[in-house]
Amino acid sequence: MSDIIVCVKQVPNTTNIKLDPVHHTLVREGVPAVMNPFDEVALHAALECKSRFGVRVGVLTMGPPQAEEMLLTCLGRGADDAFLLTDRRLAGSDTLATARALHAAIRSTSYRTVFCGQETADSSTGHLGPSLAEMFHVPQATSVTKILAMNDSRIQVQVELERTMQALEMQLPVVVSFAKENWKWDEGVRSPKAGRVQRMSLEDIGLTEDMVGLEGSPTTVVDIDIDMDSLNYLVVDSGLPAYERIGSVLRGGIQENKNRVIHNSLTEDALESLLTLLR
């Protein structure tokens, strides 16, 4: 039986996202943090596998020391092991460097099958699961909503696409990325004997400074702005002529706003590294 490690992350709990205009990053100061909702689904699925198939479940996060609180919650919910990869030199890691660090961290444990949220509420790249699968050279599934069955060698997962649903069977170990679902933890349930959080540093996972952090990250965010779709009000495109602007108001506004675009560009370096990785 393949034990499961769940990658989790703390994200800012707010709908009113603020951006740092100089560094093109999210302002996290003073914003309460919660577990990324996609990761909650992954953890829930892993704990179900624990009760149904008797596997062991670990949780892993890369983040600041205060992320320990989230890991303790995971242990309370029934996780067996918790790993906190925390090191100042990891700050500024892009998705490639993050995947590299998590890959190394998982390798230093006995876990091989990985569950993770398909994306994070604060960056939504969706890179992590596929990157880990490539690094481990194992099969992977994305947009998973449910684990159907599991035995010593194989796993069946349910995948929800836009209009269809698929059941996939894969050879273990695997990397599974979960789509978000609407459900809530029963907060009353707490494991009585929760374990300890094990801390890891860069040395513990056998990586060097140049492979992570800003230095190990080929991605440069050239610009960042708020996605209008995420706003809770309709917007009237201020670029339209007045008569059409009034028409737009009368129709209840439109979502598209020509003046605002998300710049999600990659530098050539980053593209090259990604291509090498995916070779």
């Binding site: 917007v235 002529p241 007045a242 602007r245």
Partner: protein
């Protein structure tokens, strides 16, 4: 009087809406703001009237947190009309003082809005239109007067003087209008401001007069008083400014530390009038994005506006962090008790403003004190306002025939006064003609008029309703009533000379009882709401219909309030619609319809095939029952269209006045 208090049936509590909020040192008990507007209640001498004292006090009594009174002109040149208060006259102080004391007595705070009308005047011919530059003012076609630096100094000084009068009258704050009309917005507007001196060109120059006004007014205020600004966020004119510019101006003014809050506003008095006082055709809460965008850019509190008439909607805007305060004008005109009712959970008991424009704007354009089609107490708060409905001394048995708005309103008021009421309705739904009106897209919210009344009647155990029963003289007399109110309405018909299988009355069309096809000719004798209303109905529900619209009037909907007419013409001309004004209908044959031009004295014959002719023509009161009962009952009254076919407002007003007298 419907004392029943219900819990809110929705999973919504108005936590934010009814949480206190401080603008600087002025603490508001909740987030509901009565927005400033023209009431036309001032005396012709431009002094405030007692009517206005009661009008504002009523809104405070009903639970609003903040009243922003006005808009008050700062000088004679700054008045849009003589019925606007001129606050630079010290004689305003005694009445203003009464207003502020009454409002404070009811637990609300009160600010006063000051403005200089600039290029916007309501009189004809237009007097001097003070403006940054000489241009043509669009709505009147009149050339403006370019103000000199000396006149700018006069404007600034008149703001300061007026502000000192408001301070002496006990106002908690002052709002400077940079809104849909007035000279301060004109200076920001590329349409009006072509100056090359220090008052035009850059943002700093365009805003210079505003900065001078705010600085002068601040100096005239007591330290604890609030100073705010209401700004037009988008002129929606081809040569006007847009949202980004308004946000930049507001940030600039905020950074100078001149204002404590900002209130949003949109449109002008020209082509975008419909966004200034948005009619029913403009979606509820359409301007939320304006306050939301502004709120993300400034630190001072932001007041939202724009067809907000519901506590759930208001709470949502606050929860979404898209504003700090909720501005309403017409909702609190229509139901001053909306805040109190929301707070005690009586959400269904709120009489919602439907933005018909018929009562408030309809009177305003005639320089008459504003009214409300649903609330006859507007402008008569002392006699008809909160707490004036008293139990009848003698409890009577009253039979009302007809459950349209007039019959329902009479039943509501008579029932609340303790009379025993029996209401007959021959159809299986209450509401009468409203059931047709609400099918017209631009009038669809009229259903609220009967929803509110029906809900009131449900809460009155002494009001019995007999549905599906057409009352006759015998059935009425059998009830041995002390008083009978005939509210039997009216009928629209096709004049006999035009009767033809392919000719229908507008009512048959709205009832869905006519096979009108896709090639429709409409003849509107009256040029009121129903004519262009039925055109909109056909355009909306008969996909691809071709509509040829004939009317003897000079334009389609010539007698419809111009805000509604504007929105209708926008919509209709986006469809396959063609208007033929100044035509009379002559005759209808099997193969043709013959129209006659009133002035050209020539015929226009439609013989290229048509599916139907819809006539919006004469009506007739259903008054047979009234005639049959005359002399047979002690008290006999007729209300609504049974007297004469007229508008909803008069049906409601007449019914209320009658039922209060019984």
């Amino acid at each position: 009087m419907n004392p029943e208090v219900r819990s809110v049936p929705l999973d919504v509590r108005f936590d934010k809406l009814f949480s206190p909020f401080a603008i600087k040192d002025v603490l508001l008990r909740n987030r509901i703001v009565f927005l400033p507007h023209y009431t036309a209640m001032a005396h012709r001498t431009s002094l405030p009237s007692e009517t206005e004292v009661h009008y504002y006090a009523e809104r405070a009594k009903g639970g609003a947190g903040l009243i922003i009174a006005g808009n008050y002109a700062v000088s004679e040149s700054g008045q849009m009309h003589a019925t606007f208060v001129n606050a630079s006259d010290p004689r305003v102080i005694p009445v203003f003082t009464k207003t502020t004391r009454r409002v404070h007595g009811h637990g609300a705070r009160i600010f006063g809005q000051l403005t200089h009308a600039g290029p916007t005047k309501m009189e004809k011919p237009q007097p001097d239109l003070w403006a940054p530059s000489q241009v043509i003012e669009g709505s009147s076609g009149t050339h403006t007067m370019e103000v000199t630096p000396e006149e700018i100094r006069q404007i600034v000084s008149s703001f300061r003087i007026s502000a000192s009068h408001l301070r002496k009258s006990g106002f908690d704050g002052i709002e400077i209008k940079v809104g849909h009309d007035g000279i301060l917005r004109a200076f920001l507007s590329p349409h009006y401001n072509k100056r090359t001196d220090s008052y035009g060109g850059s943002l700093e120059n365009n805003a210079r007069i505003l900065v001078e006004v705010l600085t002068a007014v601040r100096a005239a205020l007591a330290p604890r008083m609030v100073l705010g600004m209401r700004i037009c966020m988008d002129e929606f004119e081809e040569d006007g400014y847009g949202l980004e510019y308004a946000v930049r101006v507001t940030k600039y003014i905020e950074e100078l530390g001149l204002i404590d809050y900002v209130s949003v506003d949109a449109g002008t008095t020209w082509l975008s009038y419909i966004l200034q006082i948005p009619p029913m055709g403009v979606p509820l809460g359409f301007a939320e994005y304006m306050s939301a965008e502004l709120k993300r850019e400034v630190k001072i509190p932001v007041i939202a506006f724009g067809r907000i008439n519901d506590p759930v909607q208001a709470e949502q805007i606050l929860q979404n962090d898209n504003a700090d305060l909720i501005g309403m004008a017409r909702q609190l005109i229509c139901d001053p008790e909306m805040p109190a009712k929301s707070m005690r959970g009586d959400v269904d008991g709120i009489r919602k403003c439907i933005a018909c424009e018929d009562g408030c704007c309809g009177q305003g354009v005639q320089f008459q004190p504003i009214r409300c089609i649903q609330n006859p107490a507007v402008g008569k708060e002392k006699d008809l306002g909160i707490g004036t409905l008293v139990p009848a001394r003698e409890k009577k048995r009253i039979v009302i025939v007809g459950g349209g708005v007039a019959g329902m309103k009479a039943a509501e008021i008579a029932g609340k006064r303790g009379h025993s009421v029996l209401l007959f309705e021959k159809e299986n739904t209450l509401g009468g003609q409203i059931n047709l009106v609400k099918k017209v897209p631009f009038r669809n919210e009229f259903s609220e008029v009967t929803r509110f009344l029906e809900f009131q009647l449900k809460g009155l155990p002494n009001v019995m309703i007999r549905m599906n029963e057409e009352a006759t003289a015998q059935t009425v007399l059998k009830e041995a009533p002390d008083a009978v109110i005939v509210a039997t309405g009216s009928t629209r018909f096709v004049p006999a000379e035009f009767a033809h299988p392919r000719v229908f009355s507008s009512w048959e069309v709205l009832k869905g009882a006519a096979e009108i096809g896709r090639n429709v000719v409409i003849f509107d004798m009256l040029a009121k709401d129903e004519g262009i209303g039925v055109a909109e109905y056909v355009a909306e529900y008969y996909e691809g219909a071709r509509i040829r619209f004939f009317t003897p009037a000079s334009s389609p909907g010539a007698d419809v309030h111009f805000l509604n007419q504007d929105i209708l013409l926008r919509k209709l001309h986006a469809k396959n619609f063609c208007a033929y004004p100044l035509y009379e209908l002559r005759r209808v044959t099997d193969t043709s319809i013959v129209f006659f031009h009133r002035y050209a004295r020539s015929e226009l014959v439609i013989e290229d095939g048509y599916d139907s002719l819809v006539i919006v023509g004469a009506m007739r009161s259903n008054d047979e029952l009234y005639r049959q009962l005359t002399g047979k009952v002690a008290e006999l009254h007729r209300v609504g269209d049974a007297r004469a076919p007229r508008v909803v407002e008069l049906a409601i007003r007449g019914a209320e006045e009658l039922a209060r007298s019984l």
